[in-house]
Amino acid sequence: MVTSLKGFEEVSLATMWNLPKGLNFQSFISAFDKLKGNFLNSLYLTIPATVISALLGSWNGYILSKWKFRGSDIIFTLILFGMFIPYQSILIPLVLVLRSIGLYSSIPGLIVTHIIYGIPIVTLIFRNYYAGIHDEIVEASKIDGSNIFGTYFHIMLRIALPAFVVAIVWQFTSIWNEYLFAYVLTHNPRVQPVTVALANLAGSEYVEWNVQMAGALIITIPPLLVYIFLGRYFIRGLLAGSVKG
């Protein structure tokens, strides 16, 4: 079972582990000390952005799959385009707007940014999921006298758990790992997310390799935990979507 990927992983893991072990855990303590504040920033940023994003997606997806109106497919496609654009092409106006409303270089500013640019992907996830659910369920609920909100809260939300898992894993890992927005939209080290702090650490000539590696490992822990706990459902959902797409 020697595959190229395994090989790569062994190289990185083996060499990654060698150094810190040889030099005891000092490097981890030192790295954690340097990244602690930014680590918390990332949590304050990622958790609300992920939750709001998933809720928004569950509603949009429900409307765009079960309450289609004239032009809804075109609107959906236009929304979808937003997830493919290079964010450089909206970066200058984004900085100007965040500055003018006082959200530049703040965690709320990043949260708003991630929620808005997350709309396409979460809408896609939920729309694809709901599309696989029979319309009869919605019909039945309507006959029972539920209105659009009733159907959503009593039926769609309950059966949408797998879609929520996919949306949460996806949004959590991508917001936590994101760099471009984090780097451009924050200049104050006190509000910078942990990816920016690690990149700064790696760019510094004075920080030893082992501390950098320890830092890299530390910031990988949260997305890895999310992934280990929810990963199985996530992969199923992700592959279902991509194979279909």
Binding site: T15, M16, L56, P93, T173, Y179, Q212, G215
Partner: protein, 312 residues
């Protein structure tokens, strides 16, 4: 039977509810409309201006910024770098992913644990990927140590301290220094492509292969004539997803190597960032970002149009 247009009739909704439906989704539509389409229009306006310095200046300057861009040596290097990077990255991910998927499909029956392991890199930040691979390819550790040890095992005592990603060497317009970045990026995504292929392979009915075997086809022929054609849609999806990621790649390269001496590892995204936010040449930066958008759009718009047509 109730497919396509009939759906609308079947789902006929009371007028009041329809209004509510449209109202509730309007905030999202406006947000995307303003923050995606509005901002792109705004960027176009900036690119057509003469804005240099902190203060916005929308004096109309025509296509000046685009013309100077295509005359600049740095931008042409960037485009070359990005294209070479994209071709090799796609080839490794799709070729490697397919090969791994076929091997796994042949030799491993269960998949749970492997799938999780192969998709792990996706949960890792590009910044982390960059930091770790930078270290692996740095002159005095990682790969070079491995090579030195390997050489000494076969009796050659030579210390290798090759500067992989700082090397100014090139084959034609292809910069050698891109290789470590291509490897890092491929490591990051090959597992994802493999998982896509594997899921598709497992979805091919066994009877199909059996029938071919009964007809006397060799394993190789079964793959060439039956399996690979069935995998075409996956290949297309993979090429489009990875292609657009590769064309806008920023974080991994920026943190791993930056633009490099003589721009050996420079990308349009890095040029855009430095022009805009370090040199304050906003109009020029906007022009770069729009060229990037155009490159991505060439890949994405046909894809979206086709999938829209398929739905309606």
């Amino acid at each position: 039977m109730l497919e396509g247009k009939d759906k609308y009739i079947k789902m006929k909704q009371p007028r009041k509810e329809r209004t509510i439906v449209i109202l509730t989704i309007i905030p999202s539509i406006i947000a995307v409309g303003v923050f995606v389409y509005g901002f792109i229009a705004w960027s176009i306006r900036v690119a057509l201006s003469d804005w240099i310095g902190i203060k916005p200046d929308y004096t109309f300057a025509g296509l000046k910024n685009f013309i100077s861009l295509f005359k600049s040596g740095r931008f042409l290097i960037d485009i070359y770098n990005n294209i070479f990077f994209t071709i090799l990255f796609l080839a490794i991910c799709v070729g490697g992913g397919l090969l791994l998927a076929i091997l796994l499909d042949q030799f491993i029956k269960g998949e749970g644990i492997f799938r999780t392991v192969y998709l792990f890199p996706l949960a890792i930040s590009p910044v982390v990927t960059a930091v770790v691979w930078k270290w692996i390819f740095s002159p005095k550790v990682g790969v070079n140590v491995l090579l030195t040890n390997l050489l000494s095992k076969i009796g050659i005592e030579r210390t290798i301290e090759f500067g992989w990603y700082t090397s100014p060497a090139s084959w034609g317009p292809f910069n050698i220094a891109l290789i470590p970045i291509i490897i890092a990026a491929s490591w990051w995504f090959v597992g994802y492509v493999m998982a896509m292929y594997l899921a598709a392979l497992r979805g091919i009915p066994a009877e199909l292969r059996e029938a071919a075997r009964v007809d006397g086809a060799s394993e190789f022929k079964i793959y060439m004539k039956i399996i690979l054609p069935l995998l075409k849609p996956i290949t297309l999806s993979a090429l489009i997803i990875l292609g657009h990621i590769s064309l806008k790649m920023f974080d991994l390269v920026y943190v791993m190597t930056g633009r490099g001496t003589g721009f050996v590892t420079d990308f349009p995204s890095i040029f855009m960032y430095e022009t805009t936010f370090a040199a304050n040449k906003f109009s020029q930066g906007a022009a770069i970002s729009l060229v990037m958008l155009a490159m991505v759009a060439v890949v994405i718009i046909p894809y979206l149009t086709i999938s829209l047509r398929k739905e309606t």
